[in-house]
Symmetry: C2
């Protein structure tokens, strides 16, 4: 650090001497405004002055104080990301996308993990607005969160991730969940499954509701004779542990299905673990289909058939969207980006026995 060489006293800050723009100015023999220009509008300075100031900045290791900057400019290059479960690789990938896009634009991301709780979500929204972030990227735990609207009233821009912006003044980046649901159902139906268990989270989780809707939609299109029977089972938390417990109990009370559609891959992994423990073969006796197609799906005990969602791209696009809104508010128009999910077939799904028999006959 340069501080010992500097002729005038630096400011005491947290017990340490830190250079301010004033110190740079004095050292470089220019005015304070010139230093500011060197940082923000180098093109207005004479090349000689610019170089001189830059050298001093470099030597002193000067970094402009973001708070002061923000106070004056009303901007701070911070966005918030609010997700229900960062341990889920889907959201991890999404967060990575957000981070990379933010980094490229010299923004910074505050990560908030709500554990699927609306209460924690609201607390985080309060904290984020106190921090005065420029924008918030959120995958809301529930569809009806009035706190979301009040955030936009405070001038904080909002974008919904993995959700359409229902009635909100906001951009959204989502995956077509309804189509994803229908992909899963159709796959099992075509393999001959007629009794299917739907193992998801609480109904008020938007993604869950949409996929269920897609499944029902797809059901209608299937002739009555071939139409599967659906049973629903709700987990308190969309985690492997929760699915493991529930499926173990289910096995004990008797299995009345040949296929499971899971709310995400973690649930699928938990279920498969339960089956393995009880010596029920996947996919021979039960087919399991996951959702998200996380990286591990391929390395799993039984490589998972899953519905692939572009998590990283989702996050990247969302961050780009909100950052462009922050940089250019007047020109911005809210938009809705929708990605399409894809079915990835691996080893955890197979035709039912009767279906195989039928195939041989015909």
């Amino acid at each position: 650090m340069y501080r010992f060489k500097c002729s005038i006293g630096f400011v005491q800050f947290r017990g340490v001497l830190v250079a301010s723009i004033r110190d740079v100015a004095k050292e470089a023999g220019v005015s304070l405004g010139t230093v500011s220009n060197a940082i923000n509008r180098p093109e207005v300075l004479a090349p000689r002055t610019l170089r001189k100031v830059q050298k001093v900045i470099e030597d002193m290791g000067f970094v402009p104080n973001a708070s002061a900057r923000n106070l004056r400019a009303g901007r701070n290059r911070v966005i918030g990301l609010v997700v229900p479960d960062i341990s889920n690789p889907f959201f991890t990938d999404l967060a990575k996308g957000v981070n990379d896009a933010a980094f490229a634009a010299k923004y910074v991301v505050i990560l908030c993990n709500t554990d699927e709780s609306t209460e924690k979500e609201n607390q985080y929204l309060d904290v984020l607005s106190a921090q005065n972030v420029e924008g918030i990227l959120i995958t809301p735990a529930r569809d009806t969160n009035r706190a979301l609207a009040s955030v936009t009233e405070k001038g904080i821009r909002l974008a919904l991730v993995d959700r359409p912006a229902l009635g909100l003044q906001a951009c959204s980046v989502a995956v077509n969940d309804s189509y994803g649901g229908s992909l899963a159902l159709t796959h099992l139906q075509e393999l001959g499954h007629r009794n299917i268990l739907l193992l998801t989270g609480k109904e008020d989780i938007p993604q869950v509701a949409d996929r269920n809707a897609g499944i029902r939609e797809a059901l209608k299109k299937i002739s009555a004779a071939e139409r599967p029977e659906i049973t629903e089972l709700r987990l308190d938390s969309m985690s492997a542990a929760s699915a493991y417990e529930v499926i173990k109990r289910k096995i004990d009370s008797g299995i009345d299905f040949t296929g499971i559609i899971c709310g995400n891959d973690l649930i699928a992994l938990g279920a498969i673990r339960a089956f393995r423990e009880k010596n029920i073969a996947v996919p021979e006796e039960v087919s399991v289909i996951g959702y998200d197609d996380i990286d591990f799906a391929d390395s799993a005990n039984v490589p998972l058939t899953s519905i692939s969602q572009p998590a990283y791209e989702l996050g990247y696009a969302a961050a780009e969207l909100i950052i462009s809104e922050c940089e250019n508010p007047e020109r911005h128009v809210h938009q809705r980006i929708e990605f399409q999910p894809r079915l990835i077939v691996r080893s955890s799904t197979a035709p039912t026995k009767s279906h195989r028999a039928n195939l041989k006959i015909s």
Copy 2:
């Protein structure tokens, strides 16, 4: 929002009217300093005044501007977390621990992902110090990063996570990597493995170096007759994809080992995938041991033997440490917390053929 009722003009901010402390003061008929006191030191105000001001604050939905506050007070309840790879569940869990501890203390976390690059690490350190975060939690990509020292010089408190604080004025929370390495080696050695491949990241990654040191230490304690031969192989990135490619090539050029010690579980999964593809049985032909014991280790294709590290606790402890330092700088003394790793045996390791034969004989 109150803004339409207020008699004087609010400040235009991001296209939206936002109340400042001045507006509150005017509305409540008190001075600006009194409002500040109502917020920060309610005990100095007369109860009547306090109630009056609080009511106005409530009605206006006033939230103090964090930038101004930070500028003046030098505190902002923000800490930074810098990790090499957030996609790695080890760091995800760690980040979750940090987040939970921060949330409990009403702090907020800026997440920074460096992709194991010192350059990106330094850029993030600059951004974080510009943001004036109160503290930084970091798992440095390399041991020798001079930028770290300069951060503390700027009055930003530092704590090292998953690393001891080598010569730095900082707390640290770490896992005994050297012991972890010896655990892995001893396990394979006891299973009869005499040719072991070490599949890790670059040597200058501190954790890698320490574990290697632990392995060499353990080797020395083994009698020459039983001492395994170690070959090292370095990956550019500690990811499944990288391990997969390298091991596939290795298989083609001939396998001269019966066991692999991997730098983390992702590497182990990538390696196992390569073996499976080439029809080499794990653990019958090759034993594989991972590191970190991520949640998924148990659900993997071949359930992974691994060295378990308390990632969540690591993060939680680190965050608590730095937050207590921020809240009480003068009373704080730097400390070093060390967790012990544990060996978790699953199915990816087994005795070598000759070892099994020996066992039968004896």
